[in-house]
């Protein structure tokens, strides 16, 4: 199926069998979440069929899927924080009694407790869900799915926010459900978990299914190889030296921590170098970027720019000191969709383009057009709204906006997500060009080939900590993936 012109998933065959745990693995953005969402009725496929028990079915919305026994457990639990556990489980279909069809609380609590016991979850049906941990909330969501007699459970990156202990608890439940005959699908990229729990593995890469394997017939290395593929680009054409006349780091992060998200992160980025930040979703990479840029305050740690403390309290401070961030969510963070190309492009440095606060349309337009042209952007006029542009061109507008601020440190968070192949190549060329001019670049990307191709050094984050660093020569996809999934940690 396609999202706004970019095909997201192509020709995938997946079968969920009762009594089997089927893991769907792939890198970030490989399309595995989308497959799960199609199965659960969240998205409608543009091609192909979904069948239950051999009968084709088309869901208009998730509610219909739930009624047919297919439930999706989200990464961020969709619960009712003000209600108790029992009611969360039975929201929308509480047990009733009597002529007035009054809600039967004792029965609800009893049945809720039954389900919880069946799952082996130690929760009281009377606890307020808002105060529960994320893991417990996910158990509640599981219980809710079971209360609807779910025959197929799809778990989308459910373990992302869980501690190892909680993951173990979850797996006990999963095994129990499997033995009872439920069909389970597990979308993840935590390979150690896959081999622990799955009966079957489907590997996706670049929106396609590349393999279906049985765990006992394969191993982690092979799965990683399939996930990552061989085409990591022609690395030899990249410059192998970086321009490092400056011995002072452009960006120095020391012991940066934010409670619950990441801790003790320290690294340097020198002018003329690209440092890649690898890791799984939820590892904390974007959080680190946000902390550096001043969107969120870190709980402790320091950020220095060119040797001196930066004192960044908000993005304005950051921009003033020459730091720029291209955020990962283009639609909600990178651009103001209803506004024009010109308005978006000039937004970050309006003051600089104006005189005493008085804006000059000409100055803004010239600046924006100038940068957009250098980026080979195709658009009719800067009065067009950005909504009308393709993903690649939209991203160029974001880049233009930040390049205009003449940053010394550029943080790129998923710069080519949702961007077509041509624009992607152009953006890569731009990044090379920028770094050649002495910019210090921090690159976050879930596209491993891209990350490895561009980076001079690769740092790996896992569960909020920096667990590995690789020089360009040593950074292979396997090594990076291993570090990110917790297999081995290498020092460069």
């Amino acid at each position: 199926m396609a999202f706004g012109g970019v095909e997201v998933v192509k020709g995938v065959d997946v079968a969920l069998v009762p009594g089997e745990v089927h893991a769907i693995v792939g890198e970030n953005g490989a399309g595995k979440s989308t497959v799960a969402k199609i199965l659960a009725g969240v998205h409608r496929p543009t091609g192909g069929t979904v069948e239950i028990g051999g009968h084709p079915i088309a869901f208009e919305n998730p509610r219909q899927a739930i009624e047919r026994g297919i439930a999706l457990i989200h990464q961020e639990p969709l619960t009712f924080p003000d209600l108790d556990v029992a009611e969360n489980i039975f929201a929308g279909h509480p047990p009733t009694r009597g002529l007035l069809k009054r809600v039967d609380w004792p029965a609800m609590h009893a049945r809720a407790q039954e389900i919880l016991d069946r799952l082996g979850v130690k929760l009281s049906s009377a606890s307020r869900v808002g105060g529960l941990s994320v893991a417990d909330q996910q158990f509640v969501e599981l219980a809710a799915a079971l209360s609807r007699d779910a025959k197929a459970l799809l778990m989308d990156e459910t373990t992302a926010a869980l501690t190892p202990k909680e993951v173990a608890e979850l797996f006990t439940i999963v095994r129990r459900l499997r033995d009872e005959g439920t069909a389970l699908a597990f979308v993840t990229h935590h390979l150690d978990e896959v081999f622990e729990i799955a009966d079957r593995i489907t590997v996706m890469r670049d929106d396609e299914k590349v393999a279906e394997l049985l765990p006992k017939e394969t191993d982690v290395r092979e799965v990683v190889r399939l996930m990552v593929g061989r085409d990591v680009g022609d690395r030899s054409t990249r410059r192998s030296l970086f321009f490092a006349e400056e011995k002072k780091a452009a960006l120095s992060v020391r012991n940066l921590s934010k409670e619950g998200r990441f801790s003790g992160v320290s690294f340097d980025v020198f002018p003329g170098e690209i440092v890649g930040l690898a890791g799984l979703v939820g590892a904390g990479r974007t959080d680190v970027c946000r902390a550096i840029f001043g969107i969120e305050k870190p709980t402790s740690g320091t950020v220095d720019l060119a040797g001196a403390p930066a004192g960044i309290r908000n993005p304005r401070d950051a921009v003033r000191q020459g730091v720029a961030l291209v955020p990962e969510d283009r639609q909600h963070e990178g651009l103001l969709m209803p506004m024009t190309i010109g308005e978006n492009g000039s937004l970050a440095i309006l003051r600089r383009l104006a005189r005493f606060g008085w804006r000059s349309e000409i100055a803004e337009q010239t600046a924006v057009d100038g940068y957009l042209e250098r980026l080979h952007t195709s658009y009719r006029s800067s009065r067009q709204t950005v909504k009308e542009l393709s993903g690649g061109n939209q991203q160029k507008v974001v880049l233009a906006k930040w390049l205009m601020s003449e940053p010394k440190v550029l943080i790129l968070d998923e710069p080519t997500r949702g961007v077509d192949v041509g624009a992607k190549a152009e953006i890569h060329a731009l990044i090379d060009d920028l770094v050649g001019k002495g910019l210090a670049i921090l690159l976050v990307s879930s596209d491993l080939p891209e990350l490895l191709d561009l980076s001079d050094r690769v740092l790996v984050m896992k569960e909020g900590r920096l667990v590995g660093e690789f020089g360009r020569a040593d950074a292979t996809p396997e090594r990076v993936m291993f570090a990110a999934t917790g297999q081995e940690a290498h020092a460069a």
């Binding site: 009624e67 009712f80 924080p81 929201a91 929308g92 279909h93 069809k101 809600v103 808002g130």
Partner: protein, 326 residues
């Protein structure tokens, strides 16, 4: 069934009530006399009935500032009916009042739920439109006391029991009955639970198959109907209906009562008991101001301060993550 207990928030409101009464009583002993206590008891019914509706609206993350106008409109409709057809059974008049409120509440509901207009804007508009309508249907004339039958005003002056010289008026009994019914619905009816689920997480509610648009419509229509009933009680309590004063400013007091009673302004939680206590507090404050000789003119200020304080307190409490399941 787990034993019921008064959760922290309601306890706080109850304590506040006691404090207000003690403070006022100390300053002016007349406060604790039957006549002023009766004044408080007469205040509560209108606030409570409308407050219950307002609570459900706020729980669904909305607001209804047109309640004052709806009460006035219903009171006027009833008054006109009483004047033009005095021989009718009182029950018909009550029905007329409730229906009037229901109609106009439903209009609010349609605009919010189906036209997708923010509730503050809709009800701000209808606040004026309905007030204007009161004048239109009454030709700007007051319904005088002689047209309000004694049978109706007796509801406010008489009551089933008298405690220590204080009469518990019938309108209070009616209001408490409505509140009891509401409390039951909130706890035991599917719709009631759906309302709270929706307020707690609208997106999750939609995915669980809760008819969200219908729920949104319902709370405004229901509030209208309750305002209709309150309009009847208004006529009973005051004995006349004046187009410019009937229900004027009621919305502010009601919102203050609901908010003080612990209903969360961002939605998702609230209790009928809390609303009741909030009404008591506001009734107590009102009468206290009168008895203490403080000008009625302080009222607006007090309501404003009350709303702001309650909102701030709730914001702080939310930040520190306390609360109980409702």
């Amino acid at each position: 069934m787990r034993p019921k207990f008064v959760a922290g928030r309601e306890l706080g409101t109850a304590v506040l009530l006691v404090l207000v009464m003690i403070a006022a009583g100390l300053k002016e002993p007349r406060y604790l006399q039957p006549s002023s206590l009766e004044s408080i008891l007469l205040w509560i019914p209108l606030l409570l009935i409308v407050g219950v509706g307002q609570m459900t609206v706020i729980v669904t993350r909305g607001i209804d500032v047109s309640v004052g106008s709806m009460v006035g409109l219903s009171a006027m409709a009833v008054g006109l009916l009483l004047r033009s057809k005095p021989g009718l059974n009182l029950g018909v008049d009550v029905l007329a009042g409730v229906s009037t409120g229901l109609l106009f509440g439903a209009i609010n509901g349609v605009l919010v739920a189906f036209a997708g207009i923010p509730p503050i804007i809709v009800t701000l508009g209808t606040l004026s439109a309905y007030r204007g309508l009161i004048f239109v249907i009454s030709h700007s004339e007051q319904i005088d006391a002689n047209f309000i039958p004694a049978a109706l005003t007796k509801w406010s002056s008489d009551g089933p029991i008298t405690i220590g010289g204080v009469v518990l008026p019938w309108i209070l009994v009616i209001a408490l009955a409505v509140a009891a019914g509401a409390a039951w619905s909130v706890k035991f009816s599917r719709t009631g639970r759906d309302i709270f689920a929706y307020g707690s997480n609208p997106e999750a509610a939609r995915l669980r198959g809760i008819p969200v648009k219908r729920i949104q419509f319902l709370v405004y229509a229901l509030t209208g109907a309750l305002c209709g009933l309150a309009g009847v009680l208004y006529a009973s309590r005051f004995g006349f209906v004046n187009p410019s004063t009937a229900g004027q400013g009621l919305e502010l007091i009601v919102i203050a009562a609901v908010v003080i009673g612990g209903t969360n302004i961002v939605g998702g939680s609230g209790t009928v008991l809390g609303v009741l206590l909030g009404c008591c507090v506001l009734g107590a404050i009102n009468v206290a101001l009168a008895v203490l000789g403080i000008d009625e003119t302080w009222q607006q200020l007090v309501y404003g301060a009350v709303i702001l304080t309650a909102v701030l307190v709730d914001a702080v409490v939310r930040k520190t993550g306390k609360g109980t399941a409702k």
